[in-house]
């Protein structure tokens, strides 16, 4: 048996420790259950999101992967009937603790959504908004610098540097999505959550985002929900397969896609159900 075996029956699902940049779990979920009213959407999820790695969450629609992703920066708080139990930690700190400032948490754990959603403002303002409200800069020069570096990290600088004052909504879909990633980066997050960031984009724009994810990995911890199995295989180091609210299998992406241990994982990724 290879070293990449994971045991999903055990209390904790710790991914195998091979060739990871830091081998540190950035975020941890322990016995995470989520209820929407009476209905339970997630069942005792135990997972470690490793630092400076890309973790892909895959599974059929309604399996709970987006629900889980949204737990990681408390996006589910805004849903009235939603209740989360269990522990989720960021650097060993419970993010559902009463002392935690949710706004601050979401600055540390940024999010990019399925549909590009730039503010109806200029490209510059889209990026500058976050740093400004979080008080990250003291003057205009610093703010300018954050805008530039964020756009550069998102691979958008060259395309927009001459029209920073034009509206962000005027960009193409792929550019808008990279603008949203730049906006997320601008507040210096530690973790970036991406919920199907490429599903509204064409293949070229998708490739650019994937390339970007690959670069961002050097500095950020990334969790991505995707319906494209090929994308999960391409961009991630760890893959978690969710089914009917359960974390079925979690391990090295390569192992999941070449030699999955669970029948359900195999059935899903080979296109036999879902």
């Amino acid at each position: 048996m290879s070293a990449v075996e994971t045991n999903i029956q055990s209390e904790t699902v710790v991914p195998p420790q091979t060739a990871t940049p830091s081998n540190v779990a950035k975020m941890r979920g322990r016995d995470v259950c989520v209820f929407y009213g009476e209905k339970q959407a997630l069942f005792d999820v135990n997972i470690d999101i490793m630092e400076r790695e890309v973790t892909a969450l895959i599974g059929p629609s309604g399996c709970g992967k987006s629900t889980f992703l949204r737990c990681l920066n408390r996006m589910n708080d805004v849903v009235d009937i939603c209740r989360v139990t269990g522990d989720i930690t960021l650097d060993s700190q419970d993010i559902y603790d009463r002392a935690v400032d949710v706004v601050h948490l979401r600055a540390r754990v940024g999010m990019v959504f399925q549909k590009p959603n730039p503010f109806p403002k200029s490209i510059y303002e889209n990026i500058a908004y976050g740093p400004r409200i979080h008080g990250l800069t003291r003057n205009k020069a610093e703010l300018d610098e954050i805008v530039e570096t964020s756009l550069q990290k998102a691979g958008l600088w060259k395309e927009v540097k001459d029209r920073l004052d034009s509206p962000g909504t005027g960009l193409s879909g792929g550019q808008q999505q990279r603008l949203c990633i730049a906006r997320a980066i601008a507040v210096a997050p530690e973790v970036i959550l991406m919920d199907e960031p490429c599903s509204a984009l064409d293949p070229i724009a998708t490739a650019k985002i994937e390339d970007l994810i690959h670069e961002l990995r050097e500095n950020y911890t990334i969790a991505i929900v995707t319906h494209s199995m090929q994308q999960a295989a391409r961009v991630s180091q760890k893959t978690a397969f969710f089914h009917l609210g359960n974390l079925v299998e979690y391990g090295e992406t390569e192992q999941i896609f070449t030699n999955p241990k669970d029948e359900r994982t195999q059935g899903y990724i080979t296109g036999r159900f879902g």
Partner: protein
């Protein structure tokens, strides 16, 4: 081993798997009968049969090309993963092993044609003696491939050692004959090549067995591959009259190659 050829949401994908399985089993079946016929052609000194084998290899080659293009098509269109991917890759590898086996059978048939022009050689049965276990290996390994039977594959893998041992002993026998009478050199050289071809077929069957293991288990078969025979490196000096010394020479060579 879950059957790869059913259960996909896309039915056409299932159909492609069925076609791939059909092609590889036909290819394996052909290789088996080519080998059987080549051996019969030697045993019965049957020129017509040898010619049939010589011509029959084209069909195996054509099947290999067909499998190759189907595999490329499936990889491009379906992006297979997990057991599907392993099955497709395994089938592609197996097809190239079978293609080589077909070439060896053809070569044996060609040499049968040459041998049949010479006086009957008593050592023919030695070659047939290697042929039998090789045939069994080939048949078993193809069954194991179609059934995804790792246990059977490992048996084939282990049987290769016996074939290597038979080859080594035949090699020595042939050398002795050639030293006794130079007129034996031509037929014995042909027989030696035939024996080597059979031994190589065994190696390819072993490769297929390893491929099956990877296909089913997802991991390689490990390091304890049967040792290669030492006979290639064995030496017999014509002036050396003492048979016991010959034995020692061979034994030493084998030890060295094992170490």
């Amino acid at each position: 081993m879950a059957d790869v050829s059913h259960g996909h949401i896309v039915a056409a994908y299932d159909a492609e798997f069925k076609k791939l399985t059909k092609l590889i089993s036909r290819m394996g079946g052909l290789a088996e009968s080519q080998l059987a016929n080549a051996l019969t052609a030697i045993e019965k000194r049957d020129n017509a049969l040898a010619k049939t084998v010589k011509d029959g290899d084209k069909e195996i080659d054509a099947l290999e090309r067909e499998i190759e293009s189907l595999v490329v098509r499936m990889l491009a269109l379906r992006q297979p993963v997990a057991n599907d991917l392993r099955y497709i890759v395994a089938t592609l590898r197996t097809s190239s092993d079978i293609e080589r086996i077909g070439d060896y059978a053809k070569n044996i048939a060609k040499r049968a044609l040459a041998l049949n022009q010479l006086p009957a050689e008593p050592l023919l049965r030695g070659v047939v003696r290697i042929g039998r276990p090789v045939q069994t290996m080939l048949k078993d390994v193809m069954d194991a491939h179609l059934q995804g039977d790792t246990g059977k594959a490992v048996e084939v893998w282990e049987a290769d050692e016996d074939v290597d041992a038979l080859y080594t002993s035949l090699f020595r026998e042939l050398l002795t004959y050639m030293m006794e009478d130079p007129r034996h050199i031509t037929p014995c050289t042909h027989l030696l090549f035939i024996a080597k071809n059979l031994e190589r077929i065994g190696d390819h069957a072993t490769n297929i067995a390893e491929t099956i293991h990877f296909q089913v288990e997802g991991v390689a078969l490990g390091e304890r591959r049967p040792k290669a025979d030492a006979s290639n490196y064995a030496t017999l000096q014509p002036e050396d009259e003492d048979g016991d010394d010959d034995d020692d020479d061979l034994r030493e060579d084998k030890d060295e190659s094992d170490a």
